[in-house]
Assembly symmetry: C2
Homo-oligomer: 314 residues x 2
């Protein structure tokens, strides 16, 4: 009944001057995606980015980096290690791996600790936990390639991203996501994506019986949206590398108003936390870490407190 | 680094008129405890109750019922099933099984869903979740033997218990529990147990390198206290079947003041929630379920909200 919508995320950058990753053959990406336990469903490309919709989330490929998200019980750490092995550790500028504490760990093949042990056989790095053990928390692994190359990597830092992770969606739109009437057009319209992300090329997919994934690209900017509407564990993630100028706090507010999540997490890498409108009856935990790679990770968990009955007959 | 202090708990009652469980041989209890992955460490007895300290928590045996707690990655559902198989399903008046959402599920052999599938092969019953999926929650299985016997079981209900489960202890006492200077006498004194639980017979044990378990009995009344002081996941549980008259809210308050937990859960079976002194800056979730067995389970989760930095380098 509980579906694990939360994505694991990897991002890898290659050393400046490396050949473009976009010239790697399709078979390479198929192998990479398969190694994590997912499949490629579709792809759109522009001058700067190739964006793949996967059976379980997304893969973005730029000339100098990749970012891949997979949900459920996929093993994204396999893809991280495979990528490094295929390209050679000496060509890696940085690698990151992020993973939320799951509702259900049993379906997961490895724990984060086991991921860490597995990954660090290939690339040394550091693990962090952001957020409280008793509440939503995320695990983070970061590695930078300086140990291999000795070069300055100021130009090869992870993307400055915003992730808005919304849990337990309510209201008419949440109902719509669970209904057989939903269409990709209907979801785009309801979320007003075309008017919010002008000139973006969209690629989206509706899963059976439910679930929705969308990639949007415009030059080297991307955003991606994934919805797992299952009632016990409904979830929507939005993430982007749009700058603050192009992504005002109103956009996050828009999603919060439309999707009415009971709880949400905001993770901002190398940029400040965007402030959403204060709400009544919420509690907020925040934290900031400065990684060894020299960039910051800001985290905020917002919880709409209530005195409601939280009983679930299993 | 994270030790799973939270106990799983089973309670089983036999049909009125059954032979006293206390006449079962020691070997029976050894087998039962071993089946869960624990060992018997010591035992005290009085006219009404046999109380065993286990390598991982406690076992109490009365004439007509048992209650057993084990922590870590023990498989307490094995003991529940073994008990029913050895005594025969027709002699069982009721069975309950309780389990908190673990911090780390990987070490656990079975998920609660798997426990449920395993247990219900032997005794039909119902599963519940109390508390929110995103926060502390507890799983509960309840079965009553009416399906087997057709008898009225008004006299064979689970104990009316209070569980106070305290997470992330702070202050000098929490430090003391982690220090090599600690002694069983020192812990009893610091917690003023002798003056709070008058005429109780105590049996306690200090584990190496740290950890403390105590059983106290007086007639058919028991209380038990378990401390796992490991810094990343310190925890203390207190539970008892003392009535409200003998266990005023001040006793719970006493533990909260002494142990300064950042978060705590209160689970009251077939009795109202005791009210602890309100605290600043807390959020509270409560829920009440009335089980098929005709008794209530009250649950309260209290969280001391703060804006602190929650980062952990792994």
């Amino acid at each position: 009944m509980v579906f694990e919508g939360s994505e694991k995320i990897i991002e890898l950058g290659v050393q400046p001057g490396s050949p473009s990753l976009r010239r790697l053959p399709y078979a390479f990406w198929q192998t990479l995606v398969t190694s994590a336990g997912a499949e490629i469903i579709s792809c759109v490309k522009n001058d700067a980015c190739d964006a793949y919709i996967l059976s379980e989330s997304s893969l973005f490929v730029w000339d100098g980096r990749i970012r891949m998200l997979t949900c459920g019980a996929t093993q994204l750490s396999n893809a991280l290690v495979l990528f490094i092995e295929r390209l050679g550790a000496e060509s890696i500028a940085y690698a990151t791996y992020q993973r939320k504490n799951e509702y259900l760990l049993q379906p997961q093949i490895r724990s984060f600790d086991q991921d860490l042990a597995y990954i660090t056989q290939t690339i040394p790095g550091k693990g962090y936990r952001i957020g409280h053990l008793d509440s939503h928390h995320h695990y983070l692994f970061t590695a930078n390639g300086e140990a291999h190359s000795g070069k300055s990597l100021a130009t090869a830092k992870p993307l400055a991203t915003i992730e808005l992770l919304m849990y337990h969606l309510k209201g008419p739109l949440a109902e719509y996501f669970r209904s057989p009437q939903q269409t990709t057009e209907g979801i785009r319209d309801a979320l007003q994506l075309s008017s919010m992300f002008i000139d973006f090329e969209f690629d989206d997919h509706l899963f059976s019986p439910c679930g929705y994934s969308l990639n949007g690209i415009k030059g080297d900017r991307y955003f991606t949206l994934h919805i797992t509407p299952q009632e016990q564990s409904s979830y929507c993630s939005f993430e982007t590398n749009l700058t603050e100028k192009d992504l005002p706090a109103e956009v996050l507010e828009h999603f919060l108003v439309k999707l009415q999540p009971e709880r949400w997490d905001l993770i901002c890498v190398d940029r400040p936390l965007l402030v959403a409108k204060p709400r009544d009856n919420t509690s907020i935990n925040t934290c900031l870490i400065t990684t060894d790679g020299g960039y910051d990770v800001n985290f905020k968990h917002v919880d709409q407190q209530d005195e409601l009955l939280f009983t679930q007959v299993i």
